[in-house]
């Protein structure tokens, strides 16, 4: 309970969260058949039904706080995406931030009342993360004072936007603006796509669903093709950049501002990494306490599989990771809110670092969580593969976050760009601040290189603070190595881009090491904030496990840089195993602290009461193949075959 409060940031929030949870879960309108048994069209229909209800009930209950709306929505949809996500999460906010007052008058209230349902159409078939490559055009025609929108190639068809396929009647479309014969880059336009009333696509608009995906069954991710589709000049979002009636283009003041939104969304993904991994851990650890298998001691009853070292070695480091990411997510969110105050006052100085940090952490946490969820599933053996385990669903819902809002490798390289820049600054004698300040030490070391080896013995593997130093040294060394390799390539007189590309594997490694250091550092810093001794003790074990396990998985980095000796590595490996045994008695309590309701967890294996096998049987009986005792195929195919042979 206390731990739950720490994760939630105080006792008040879990209380209110539980109220909202009860409000949703006790509402018969939100009940439906298990989604695993429905077809995609049916799942879409259920989601639309619930979303419509949700919007009405939110207003009935007078819930308006963004966080409470988020909880409500997440209980209604059980943490799953839904067709109105883009309307609520992108269309409305974009109107608020980028529309002129006049545009807000025209669009905001209808959109708030859902007469207009909108989406945000940026990604195209041929281009995603690389925005400058987008090909949709909006050409201004001063004669009629309209923009003419076109999808000039197959690759320029808008592809993937959520809610675009079937749900939305408007879209904010990002297109290359052409006026007075010149391309002015990407701008946003409000485009009606379906007829109000009939919901039929408008002439000049081709729109539909992009077909089945790995997950996101309830989301109608869509395509949109426009042929000489005209919209009035006033439909360009013109709070910043403007096109005047005669076609004159007025430039925006600063383009750094769009960073803010990206930082915000990426910080949400860090939180989502923590949540998704926590859910998978909850399922796998509870199930491992219920499942018995084989024998540890001859003649004794079969032990819980959670007692096997190999099973603990799979799951407990992931549990520690889930905790670590919770704290990282909270940190980024707080930092964002702190800095966004400065931004509103025009102070953008901290933005580049925060931007670099969230890009890297978004990639680092989503990659780790993605792999971790799969490990949890594998740790549940065959039953993990059944959809009743709930883990397949968590995985397919989570895995696209490695791609959306910035492809992870590209994100890592953005962080690397910042790291290299900081390194260059340090090399030229300047000091750098913030999370990269460790690079300052590098210049000091260069003066006394013989002392590098001397630091080796100072790493104490039982002390989180000392491990932070070890991670710091590793990050410093990898950043330095990447920067030097980059310089070497440049010295070969390669072009800047070519040299960058030839160093990019090193650069990604450097970014990963940097992010890893940040996570260890933040987790360690969190420990001193915990006042309850028992809770602090268990969190310290988790923190140590996280840090030591990370070393044992990357021993090469620590050995090669001379940060740790082989003997210390052996100790680290040994200590990891000792920690597994220490954490074992608390394992179930530690996942209970995540406080997921059974309905939210959506897993037969992860039930709070542990009655796994009975409920698997009950669940299976409802499967669509079991609707009839003798399947139709018997009469159609099997029987005729038997008769013939």
């Amino acid at each position: 309970e206390l731990l739950t409060h720490i994760l939630d940031g105080g006792p008040e929030r879990p209380r209110r969260r539980k109220e909202i949870e009860a409000l949703v879960l006790n509402d018969p309108d939100f009940q439906h058949e298990d989604l695993n048994f429905l077809s995609r069209s049916q799942r879409y229909e259920q989601a639309i039904r619930k979303s419509s209800l949700m919007v009405m009930k939110l207003r009935e209950h007078g819930i308006a706080d963004p966080e409470e709306i988020f909880w409500f929505k997440s209980f209604v949809h059980r943490g799953r995406p839904e067709p109105l996500d883009l309307h609520l999460g992108m269309f409305l906010p974009t109107l608020l931030t980028q529309a002129t007052p006049e545009q807000q008058d025209r669009f905001f209230m209808p959109a708030w009342n859902l007469e207009i349902i909108g989406t945000y159409a940026q990604t195209e078939m041929g281009h995603g993360t690389h925005l400058r490559g987008l090909e949709t055009t909006a050409t201004y025609d001063p004669a009629t004072q309209e923009f003419i929108l076109n999808s000039p190639t197959v690759t320029s068809i808008k592809w993937w936007p959520g809610g675009l396929g079937k749900t939305s009647n408007h879209a904010i479309v990002l297109a290359q603006l052409y006026t007075q014969g010149q391309c002015k880059g990407l701008h946003a336009f409000i485009v009606p796509i379906r007829q109000l009333g009939t919901h039929e696509p408008l002439p000049g608009i081709t729109v539909g669903d992009i077909g089945p995906k790995f997950g996101y069954d309830e989301m109608d991710n869509g395509y949109l093709k426009m042929d000489n589709f005209r919209i009035p000049r006033e439909n360009m979002l013109m709070k910043y950049a403007q096109v005047e009636p005669d076609g004159t283009y007025v430039k925006p003041v600063s383009d750094k501002l769009t960073y803010g939104t990206m930082v915000f969304i990426r910080s949400l993904i860090v939180g989502d990494s923590a949540r998704s991994l926590s859910r998978a851990c909850t399922i796998a650890i509870r199930y491992s306490a219920v499942r018995h298998q084989s024998e540890l001691k001859p003649g004794e009853p079969e032990p819980q599989i959670l007692d096997y070292q190999t099973q603990q070695y799979k799951l407990f480091p992931l549990l520690a990771t889930a905790y670590a990411f919770h704290f990282v997510g909270a940190y980024i969110k707080d930092t964002y809110h702190r800095i966004s105050g400065d931004i509103n006052e025009g102070d953008l100085s901290e933005l580049p670092e925060l931007h670099a940090l969230t890009a890297g952490l978004k990639a680092f946490t989503s990659w780790t969580a993605n792999a971790g969820i799969e490990e949890c599933r594998m740790a549940c053996g065959g039953h993990g593969y059944s959809r009743c385990s709930g883990i397949p669903d968590i995985y397919v819902t989570f895995t696209p976050s490695c791609t959306y809002e910035g492809e992870n490798t590209v994100m890592m390289l953005q962080t690397a760009r910042f790291l290299v820049k900081s390194y260059t600054q340090v090399s030229s004698g300047q000091q750098v601040a913030g999370m990269v300040s460790y690079l300052n030490d590098l210049s000091r070391q260069r003066i006394q290189p013989q002392h590098v080896a001397a630091r080796t013995v100072t790493v104490r593997i039982n002390d989180p603070a000392s491990l932070v130093e070890a991670y710091k040294a590793r990050a410093a060394r990898l950043v330095e190595a990447a920067a030097k390799n980059l310089q070497a390539e440049l010295n070969h007189r390669r072009s800047k881009e070519d040299a960058w590309n030839r160093t990019s594997v090193d650069l990604v490694r450097a970014s990963e090491a940097h992010c890893h250091y940040v996570v260890v550092k933040l987790f360690t810093a969190k420990l001193s904030e915990v006042s309850n001794a028992a809770v602090r003790a268990v969190l310290t074990d988790l923190c140590l496990l996280y840090a030591l396990f990370g070393i044992s998985k990357n021993t090469g980095d620590f050995l090669q840089a001379g940060i740790l000796t082989s003997a210390q590595i052996t100790q680290v490996n040994q200590h990891v195993k000792e920690l597994l045994a220490v954490i074992r008695p608390n394992a179930v309590a530690l996942v209970d602290s995540f406080d997921f309701h059974d309905v939210h967890l959506g897993s037969v294996l992860g039930r709070y009461d542990g009655n796994v096998y009975e409920n698997m049987f009950e669940w299976a009986k409802k499967s669509p193949l079991n609707k009839t005792q003798v399947h139709a195929s018997f009469h159609k195919h099997l029987k005729p075959m038997q008769a013939k042979l």
Partner: protein, 658 residues
């Protein structure tokens, strides 16, 4: 017409693609037969997988049953037989999308475990599909650990019958394929009781559905276990038995028999039993693991040659994503692994054929080694390939996430292979047990099987490489792998002994070392895989550029393994920090070299477009057009009732009242 971005890739191939295909098939004649089978299957509309991604579980199941029935006809028509050269290509041509796969396991288990009389009775019935069989081993509560199964078979002398029961819920049979809806019979594994004494697990033939109307037999509860990550076409089932009586003759009794008076007789050696298990593990590597991996590589690499993103040089066209080092670093090692696993599979197959001949001569000497190799490689290859397919999926960005890319289905299918036929961690521990035993024997100067003789010749020392080119020498890297394997096995063995000598019970010591044991077993398999790849390359013909490109792939496979596991090689200073930088340099250089041949290297796998069933991976590279066309066929693009029912009232202002 072929997308020019893909066409240009093919013009610069450094080797002859057709020759490489023949090498993979084991000769040009086999390539010809395979293509003929694929052609016959793909030209038949019944076998089409065109709409597969749009179908529900019920539709997929029905299609699979229809295909299975039609296949019987087709084989007859084409004159294909089960022991003919065409047979093994049928499954590949169908991409496994067919029902009654367990029927064959049913037949094999009767052939192997049944008496001559039982074989004579059941096999003809099964061959003519008078009955449909399944194989019911796994239970809700137990999988890989067979002794833990809880189903019981009690012998009743009075009626000369066995009485089968599912005593509790965790004893329910769960997962067997074809059992949920199709099967009429199944081989049930149950604990045999005679006069109240338990004799362990034995196989029994049990009829579960009527041969007339397919209804369940008395005492039987059976059905489908519900949706899974994949295998929607297979009706994996559950089975509950309540006082089901079967005649004494239904216990498969080649090795164990219960006489009419209740005497239990064991005859012959059960070792052959293990051999069946090991052969199944090896046989799944090619069809269920290596082929899906090759498909995933084909899709991801072709797509990466078509997809352009961002500019590498200012003012130029956007670059193919395959030209980015990070993309190469994701995909090319997976391609190298696909080749490595193909060759290790050849090696294992050969070893098993030899083992089979020995066993028929009643010589069981090779069994422990075969068992260890099959367990270890099943685990290592399935694990590695599963991760590799996922890397391919994610390397295709957003479009990889679409089912139409084909990658999600390849992934969800291949990942099941990490669990079935023995959970990977447990299998690795079995291999480790063998390795520890052999290490002890070798240390004591006793003879050990050929694959582990290296344990006897431990040469302490340092890696002799002086510059990065030295790491392109197979001797250098093979020895490094060998060194790591020996180090991990010997240090774990030493730790085990220490623990035992300090008074820790043997089983406790074992559990305390399992994490290390797993690592040791992996290192052993990795070493054998590298060694085998290097030896295979050495014996290839030098013509047509094949040997040269295979050597590059072998180097890449080996160096990627070192690069991604540097700690193991640095640990005792065998490879120095400076040498590790050379490894990295050589490794990254290789990516650029193999990049040039990447598309021809996947073309050589020779998958037809229908077989790949991917909008991203087709031969002509017309990715975007195909994606757009296929999406329009999606059932979600028919007008959904959701609009009338929910959206319309929502849009039409029901809310303005609020």
């Amino acid at each position: 017409s072929v997308n020019p971005d893909l066409a240009s890739e093919r013009q610069t191939a450094s080797f002859c693609v057709e020759k490489l295909t023949a090498l993979l098939d084991g000769g040009a004649e086999k390539t010809r037969i395979r293509r003929a089978v694929v052609e016959a299957i793909e030209s038949d509309p019944v076998f089409s997988r065109e709409n597969q991604y749009f179908q529900t579980q019920n539709e997929r199941y029905e299609a699979a049953v229809r295909k299975a029935v039609h296949l019987q006809k087709k084989m007859h028509e084409m004159g294909w037989t089960e022991d003919g050269p065409e047979y093994k290509y049928i499954y590949r041509a169908l991409s496994g999308d067919v029902a009654f796969l367990l029927h064959r396991v049913f037949m094999r288990s009767i052939s192997v475990l049944g008496s001559d009389k039982q074989v004579a009775k059941w096999i003809p019935l099964a061959t003519q599909h008078q009955l449909i069989g399944s194989y019911a081993q796994t239970e809700l509560g137990h999988g890989t650990y067979l002794q833990g199964l809880e189903t019981t078979a009690v012998f009743d002398i009075a009626t000369q019958e066995f009485i089968l029961n599912t005593p509790k819920i965790s004893a329910m049979k769960w997962w067997p394929g074809d059992m949920g809806r199709s099967a009429t019979h199944t081989v049930v594994f149950a604990q045999l009781y005679i006069h109240g004494k338990c004799y362990g697990i034995h196989p029994f033939i049990v009829q579960i559905r009527s041969l007339q109307d397919h209804s369940l037999c008395p005492g039987i509860t059976a059905g489908d276990i519900g949706p899974k990550m994949n295998f929607e076409h297979i009706d994996n089932g559950y089975l509950m038995l309540k006082n089901v009586r079967i005649p004494r003759d239904n216990m498969l009794s080649k090795f164990c028999e219960v006489r009419p008076d209740g005497t239990y007789v064991r005859q012959g050696s059960q070792k052959i039993n293990y051999f069946t298990m090991t052969t199944v593990r090896i046989s799944l590597i090619a069809d269920e693991v290596v082929i899906p991996l090759m498909k995933a590589c084909t899709i991801a690499i072709r797509y990466s040659a078509v997809r352009r993103q961002s500019k590498l040089k200012p003012g130029e066209q956007e670059a193919k994503i395959l030209d980015y080092q990070t993309q190469q670093e994701k995909l090319l090692p997976q391609l190298a692994a696909a080749y490595a696993f193909h060759f290790i599979n050849d090696y294992l197959q050969e070893l098993f054929d030899r083992g089979y001949r020995e066993i028929q001569r009643k010589n069981f000497d090779m069994l422990p080694e075969l068992h260890a190799l099959s367990s270890g490689f099943k685990a290592v290859i399935t694990h590695h390939s599963t991760a590799a397919v996922e890397i391919c999926l994610r390397a295709c960005g957003g479009h990889g996430y679409s089912l139409l890319s084909g990658l999600p289905s390849l992934y969800t299918k291949i990942l099941a292979s990490c669990i079935y036929e023995g959970e990977n961690t447990i299998l690795l521990l079995q291999t480790a047990r063998f390795l520890i035993k052999c290490f002890m024997a070798a240390s004591a100067g006793q003879p050990v099987p050929p694959s582990v003789t290296y344990l006897a010749a431990v040469k302490p020392g340092k890696c002799p490489a002086k510059n990065k080119l030295d790491f392109l020498s197979p001797d250098i890297y093979t020895e490094a792998y060998q060194h790591v394997a020996v180090r991990l096995i010997s240090s774990t063995a030493a730790k085990l002994q220490d623990l035992i000598q300090s008074g820790v019970k043997k089983y406790d010591a074992w559990n305390q070392c399992t994490v290390q044991l797993v690592q040791a077993a992996k290192a052993h398999c990795h070493y054998i895989a590298v060694k085998n790849f290097a030896e295979t390359v050495e014996n290839l013909e030098t013509k047509a550029g094949i040997q040269k490109i295979m050597k590059h792939l072998c180097d890449l496979f080996a160096l990627h393994g070192i690069f991604s596991n540097t700690g193991a090689f640095l640990h005792d200073g065998y490879v120095s920090a400076a040498q590790m930088d050379m490894v990295t340099a050589s490794y990254l250089d290789l990516l650029a070299v193999i990049r040039k041949d990447a598309v021809p290297l996947v073309d050589a796998f020779d998958f037809t477009d229908k077989n790949l069933n991917s909008a991203l991976g087709s031969y002509d590279g017309q990715v975007y057009q195909r994606l757009y066309e296929w999406a329009q066929k999606s059932p979600t693009n028919k007008m959904s009732p959701a609009y009338e029912r929910y959206l319309k009232p929502l849009l039409h202002n029901t809310l303005s009242k609020l």
